[in-house]
Symmetry: C2
Subunit: 198 residues, 2 copies
């Protein structure tokens, strides 16, 4: 899946530059893998490309977008309207890729009622009702670590099946939920470890 | 390394609750691994814990912090003073773990000169001089994808050896540089893929 996301970026750049065909070697080089791996990855999803001619950028771009579920738009709710939440809300790369924020929640009474774009920040007491009413596909969690598990438990009970967690804590969710973590502190600790052990 | 970061969190929580000893089973459960793995990981760094008694939380916390390089503070520069940069600048978990932002840069003349805490946003033309003068250890890149490679090339030439990249692009750096990526779009695409293939 990660390699598909990388191929997608290479293809988007190539498409923006007006490039019409691309070789598996070029995809491999830019994606940090081998051309054999590229051919294997793409063959799993159908028959693309012609031997010696490379892949049609336009055709392959469409196919990869479809495989990744990016040919449709996803309804996203953001829980946590703090600084990280605000940065995510205005992050245009999310919108551009079809992730549309349809609801924002916070527990802080001073935040509730704020106008964010065409949304109003709602009380966290309304999470269950609004996630259901708005048919939310994906929840972005940008809440403090201490409350993240309790919030994700509530989200799980609404039937949402995908969560992107920004709280620096390892969450436990059932098998039916896809969970991804963006853990900035963990990455900085990785750098600290690398510098420290040199 | 990732497991060490997870153990660190469990130990910090235990310490905050006044817990004095912790078993390898408990560390394993919370860190999502096995107690044999915990014992193996920790044995690499010296001899901790007593059979049947568990580990001293205080002692192990100090040791893990030292291994991760978190017993010292790191001098960090933030390149990119947009929304993501601003959110990172005010992210208290960075400071709390010894990552201190000492310089902020932007290419936008309307941002240069802004006062952020006790810093002034500097022109990106000053990157080389200030990274050197301030003896920066770690650079956080929060710039648009299109310019990220050019900026990281400049950073690399100053001798900085650790980069945390938030731009949604795969950067190429030399072997001497530790590079970590926080790629929010990639994680969302992972969720989209998971929802799409169910």
């Amino acid at each position: 899946m990660r390699r598909l996301s990388l191929y997608l970026r290479v293809l988007q750049e190539a498409d923006a530059l007006g490039v019409e065909t691309i070789s598996s070697e070029e995809l491999a080089r830019r994606g940090g893998t081998t051309s054999a791996q590229v051919r294997k990855d793409l063959s799993l999803f159908g028959s693309f490309g012609k031997r010696g001619l490379g892949y049609s950028v336009h055709e392959l771009l469409g196919a990869v977008r479809e495989i990744l579920g990016l040919d449709r738009s996803w309804r996203v709710a953001l829980i946590g309207a703090g600084k990280i939440g605000a940065a995510l809300f205005s992050y245009r790369d999310f919108q551009r890729r079809g992730f549309h924020i349809r609801a924002v929640f916070d527990a802080d009474v001073s935040k509730i009622g704020e106008v964010w774009g065409d949304l109003i920040v709602r009380s966290d007491a309304e999470i269950e009702r609004i996630l259901t009413d708005e048919a939310i596909d994906i929840v972005i969690l940008a809440v403090p670590a201490e409350v993240a598990q309790a919030v994700v438990d509530r989200v799980a009970r609404t039937g949402v099946r995908a969560v992107l967690n920004f709280a620096p804590v390892k969450l436990r969710v059932g098998d039916g939920i896809a969970l991804r973590n963006v853990d900035m502190v963990l990455e900085l600790e990785g750098l600290s470890f690398a510098l420290n052990t040199r």
